[in-house]
Symmetry: D2
Subunit: 480 residues, 4 copies
């Protein structure tokens, strides 16, 4: 396994073609906007080095028997599924942010099942290819970016019906040694913190869409892959005031648009090729795993609850009944989310490929709660914090020789607490409810791993309504 | 294990001193108000006889190695805890009602731990006594009523401070062969369907309250124990129209006030005697188990969702987007409840006594959701059903030779569905949202196993706020 | 104006063809199930006699200049609209129930506009006929039942497409002196407490449905009109325990199915005849007025808040922070409802006919809140009340010579409060949250004046989305 | 009345002592962070010039009979109160932001009543002074900043008990010609866009706090008054990307900390001086008016609904049932807020001073809804918009010669819509849900005019619980 330092070093060696705010970025590692996001991934290496997290953060490879980072692991047991949820909880609290690496894990696990199932039906050899690739990922302890969402163009049209054929990533040309692809993947979390990028179709396909039914993996800095960094709430504060004012001084998220401009993929990296009838299955498998992963939001919630409790104490009102009640309400929402993620893991099962898979219904139920509860927790945190989170002067004002004394005097709060502490916690609450952290904690909770409607559709599909109807009929005396 | 028929027969042999609607009731088994409640308990025997439910409904006694009804079992593993939740789900769907037997199970399990812990501290022999009693219960396959809630009098006063000392059940006199007790237990679910009644304190006690810190078990028809049946929504409909109009034609709940008028308890049935410092522990243990048990509500929810889907079909609108959306919302709430109950079971642990115990925080989180979600599910079911659930004529009108034809003609709905089916489902929805079923499904969800505030207090106590505060501090750069 | 006594007397003289619970009922006035509903209407006469309510309960007829009951009045000003809301608030608190008379008022007002508009387009004389009829209603101070909802059969089919043509009330035969009609009106609130019944179409019609586009008024006891009483939660408790156990000992609601078996209507009572293009307009006008009327629910809410506060006091916990908070939450929901009803009245306008009409958008917004908020208020009331509302013994148990003492002793609560008071308030809360009162307060709030989806459709139609889009465009710099 | 241009010019002539981000700012008018906030106030002049808004935006002074800007007006009628709500709705939609001027209006109106009432009790001449000042404000058409919130220090201590006496603004010294004051006012909306600043106490006072019971007005650039600009979400984006990326390209809010460092106030500008018993009255009056003012949030809601509808259209899914349903839900919440604000205005009354005053209960109910509903509307807007609001590249990327084509191609959406439109609307939604607009739309909705708990306390105080209890008692038969 790589150390944290080795990971950072490996990133220095990547040759990303990246643009941010209209300019090309060459040194990503030391960029003040990007580094906090890279720190999150670094934390997945850092904690794996610590003995106290060993059971959760690492696992034994079923391919090699070696100890590997759990993010590179294929779930071999229910315990593995549960430990994934618990790993999310540890890292969410440690970073207060999206730590970005789970999307690759979920892609690997989904492909471990679907490549097997395609082979069973069509006699192909995707699973062998995939396992070889997986072994490489495990041995090198790599970060994989799982790339699913296409641009989609006019959403009322299917891939092959679009005026612009590139609105969904697709096959451009088949060559003897591989394929050429073109298109884009949007909303790519942690893209330029990754070693590898794994592409998958974004939706169910029909036969006429078969050139869009492709899945493959590439080194993230492959020629022809262009990254454009997404602009997010409060991103420029990282540049102008990188300390106190940013709230979370260590970590943050990252989203990129990833353009594939006629990129070549060798056959050994192709895991699905025109098997359109398996596209929806790959989407569902990846999405269900990834919906489980949103357990991480309940720990960002932990951070926010901790911050709310601190600010209540700093302001002298931690024992007010309404404050206590709001803290409990926040915990209730939070623990409900984690319970659902745990339940979908515990109620998982083994698939024919040998991989353990979450309970699809409960994974979707779990994620659908995540699309709502963090917003209410955020509102309660703002309620407890008070208006200062949007009216407080900047750190530079606190440090100004003429007016700093006023800021210090009047933001002091309860006796005995350094004014800086109060400001820092206020900024952390701002970060998580409307700043960079809110991107991870709120909007990503809503749309990551699919928007609410996607979960609703899956719930309708997986719930056993007939069983419920029959129970009702029996009780009220309906015989047919 | 007893068969269903043997259970019913055993109830005929009980000699309850019962009053209902101002009159003494002697034949409980054939009473139209009581029988549906007894049918619920009978179902716990019936399903245990069926091979397909064997794994869930029965267990192996750790005392005798014999196969016993799971309701008499002390949880020996996490799997046992999970199976309790799953057993609740099966029986809830089977009865569409509170099946009443879990309260005894939860009492037995709580006592298995607390008697052990008292003995450890005080060198007493409660656990030995208890295990002997437990063996009797298991061998005879008995139903135990767990009795906790006292009258409480003026709630701002503690037990020993009450003007009337009987407001909490208490020791009246110590005798050589046992003790005399007096008081009342209210809200006693399934009381006159039980063979045994197990009394426990209802709250934390101080030393001055020690005469109230008692726990014991008695045959339910012991002399001096008087039962007064609670009056519930639509109870008299069971008498005047026991078929279609009652909605749930098979099952229902039961609540009694149980008066102890100087009742004698022999020493071998006494499990706590003045150890006031263990009263709160017994309450918490029982309550946490029982809060897990409220998973059953998610299956009554299944019945209601099934009924809502049926009525939508009978009325020709199952595909309307808003109907589908409401059904999904109902499922979402329902599966969130079951997920939380599963999570608190899976995250349980073994106590020093050897008994496996649920995760207290998550058990309380689970129950607190149950105090809200069924109300919203009920509202959605009424929304889908339409106003007919409160305006429809009675079954007798349908059967009336003069006007029955109008009822049949105009309540018909979609072609091809018997009018009776539509009426029956409407009545089932009425039953579960405002009738006898609503007592179980709504009000009991709110107050059973403790009112919402009780869960909130436990959540505040069990959540690790310091861990959350420290996570927040680290991220925003606070060092102390 | 009639006195309360005269109204009751007038009801004795009606010759209704009524069936209830499978039997014909001749003496309605003294029937224990029906009388509480009749008492509600009687209250509309009683309060009109009281000088302190004069401004609200009465108005000056624009036809005769005489003082009339406001329920017979056509709104001549914004103040009239506002006073209708305020009248609802007074009567709701006075009866704790649906007082049933507003549906007639809303029908009269809608017809006053639509008959005028039809005449304008087609040169008919409906408005003249209507005003003559209105004068009769005002002079005699009559109660009118507004009848809109048809059986609807298969809801995916339009009226003329139904297999059974009677699923919507329709013209059977045109005669020289009038018309013959057949069909049914369901969910008829207060039907057998009314002197008159006014029928209107239940939905938009197309030309092929024109035989269904009819509106007319008849004496409620006209030959061929058959009433079948709806069975409601706890209705039989009115028979077996008409005092304490019913909760609301004075008042209740009433719903009937009203069959029209070839009924003759003279021309002077016909207000719409095949003008299918005005059907939706009449529905919308009536519905908007009637949605305003649901302000009454906020006063039933007042009663429930009062009851919750009383029970908290009787149980010794009125000052607990969580109790106070719940009471405030109930008030908040309640006053939000009343505010919306007031706003749609204040923002009304005068129509070409001279009648003042509510703001349609806000009237629908108002009602849509009413479909949700009472359910949450009811849940909070049950939360405050405790489980006793579903477990308490009956009044007959309290009065039983043997066990009455136990009921009295153990249900006592706080020192100094008669046990009867506590029981009575508990039963009132039961009544309003799951008994007869809940029919009015909850289910009727959901479906009366149209189900939630009906309000949503109107809101989508009336909101000015283009204005909103243009505001957004300007601010973000979009020019086209 | 001043024109918009004259207002801007008048601001150039102010001599504010302002710090922002650690540096002194001299040219406020052309500062890119400040100007959008100033534009909001300018809009209050601009719209008053337009004939079509004349009735709403202007009023006739009761002092001079001249036409004045409504923001300088003392409400003389219910219609004035209603027009204030409607003025808020117009300006909210016009600016999509807090337009900041209402706080001064609410201060003037509150003082018009309370100065009168103090005079009545103590024979003082505050009202005369105040009216003279008011006339000056009206004649010059000035913007007044209403300053209430103090630093508060340790919130468990009262003003006179604080370790640092300056935690509440207070009298330092009485002089012959006036008084010296010291302290701070925080959360000062629109402070450096104002001509005048009006200080009021922030809470109820006791006699020992009487040096804190002072109210006065000063030119906003008086010597000794120091402004420190609050740092807000995305503020620096105004500097680095002042066009498309800011979302709302025209307007924004403003919050300052205002330090009073031994500032002199002449007697003619002092409106309360040690009359501690009127402090709570002034707070309540100001707060109730200001809670009505939050109607403006419902129009920011209009902008957000418009933006959500636009993005749905641009993405090709405006007719999806779930999108329509969410839009309706947003409208429902929004119109409920406006209804409550209208109701508290319509149900206002005239006070002894002659000023018309809102219904306090309903004003608080209105504001309490505003603390919740915008958060849910914002969540729904994000749901409809999709993840692009937090992952989209910047405007500079769109304009980059190398990669701009990819951004343009892949963010295009539906055929025929310029890609820029889609980006602009997405950024507007970002602005309103997590950027600068969210400060106004969300956090200010929560804490402006007092935090939720402040409204709850007032609701508990103003609701007539006794009336409710009596209604309940009568219905269930309780006589005492």
């Amino acid at each position: 396994m790589k150390t944290k330092a080795e990971y950072i070093e490996s990133m220095r060696n990547m040759n990303f073609n990246l643009y941010m705010f209209g300019e090309q970025v060459t040194n990503l590692v030391d960029n003040p906007v990007i580094r906090p996001a890279m720190n999150c991934i670094a934390a997945t290496y850092e904690l794996a080095e610590k003995p106290e997290y060993d059971k959760i953060m690492t696992a034994t490879s079923h391919l090699t028997g070696k100890r590997i980072n759990r993010f590179c692991h294929i779930h071999q047991s229910i315990e593995d599924l549960v430990n994934k949820t618990k790993m999310g909880r540890i890292l969410g609290a440690y970073t207060g942010s999206c730590f970005q690496r789970c999307v690759g894990t979920d892609s690997l696990n989904a492909l471990s099942m679907v490549t097997h199932d395609i082979d069973q039906k069509y006699g192909t050899e995707y699973n062998t290819r995939f396992l070889k690739y997986l072994r490489y990922v495990q041995d090198e302890d790599l970060v994989c970016c799982g790339a699913m969402t296409d641009a989609k163009g006019d959403r009322s049209l299917r891939p092959a019906e679009q005026a612009d054929p590139d609105q969904y990533l697709h096959l451009v040309e088949e060559k003897s040694n591989g394929i050429m692809v073109r298109g884009v993947k949007v909303h790519q979390t942690g893209a330029v913190n990754s070693h590898e990028i794994i592409c998958m179709p974004t939706r169910a396909m029909r036969e006429e869409d078969k050139d869009y039914a492709i899945s493959f993996a590439l080194p993230a800095d492959t020629e022809g892959v262009i990254y454009i960094y997404g602009r997010q709430s409060c991103d420029s504060r990282r540049i102008d005031s990188p300390n106190m004012d940013v709230g979370n001084i260590l970590y943050g998220g990252q989203e990129c648009m990833v353009v594939f401009e006629d990129v070549f993929v060798p056959w050994e990296r192709v895991f699905m090729y025109k098997e359109w009838d398996f596209a929806s299955d790959l989407v569902e498998k990846f999405a269900s795993y990834h919906r489980q992963s949103y357990a991480c939001k309940s720990v960002i919630g932990d951070v926010l609850i901790g911050a709310a409790q601190l600010i209540a104490e700093y302001q002298g009102i931690p024992k007010a009944a309404h404050i206590r009640d709001k803290i409990i309400d926040m915990i209730q929402l939070n623990e409900t989310m984690i319970s659902c993620s745990l339940a979908c893991a515990y109620e998982g099962h083994r698939e024919p490929s040998g991989t353990c898979y979450v309970n699809t219904l409960l994974a979707n139920v779990s994620k659908l709660n995540v699309t709502k509860f963090p917003y209410e927790i955020a509102r309660l945190a703002q309620d407890i914090a008070g208006g200062g989170i949007v009216t407080m002067p900047s750190e530079k004002d606190l440090n100004n020789p003429k007016i700093g004394k006023y800021v210090a005097k009047y933001l002091k709060g309860t006796e005995g607490i350094p004014v800086e502490n109060r400001i820092r916690v206020m900024r952390l609450i701002e970060n998580l409810t409307m700043g960079l952290g809110a991107v991870c904690y709120l909007t990503e909770s809503l749309h990551g791993a699919g928007s609410p409607m996607a979960q609703k559709i899956m719930i309708a599909r997986r719930a056993n309504i007939d069983r419920m109807k029959n129970a009702a009929k029996r009780l009220c005396g309906i015989e047919s």
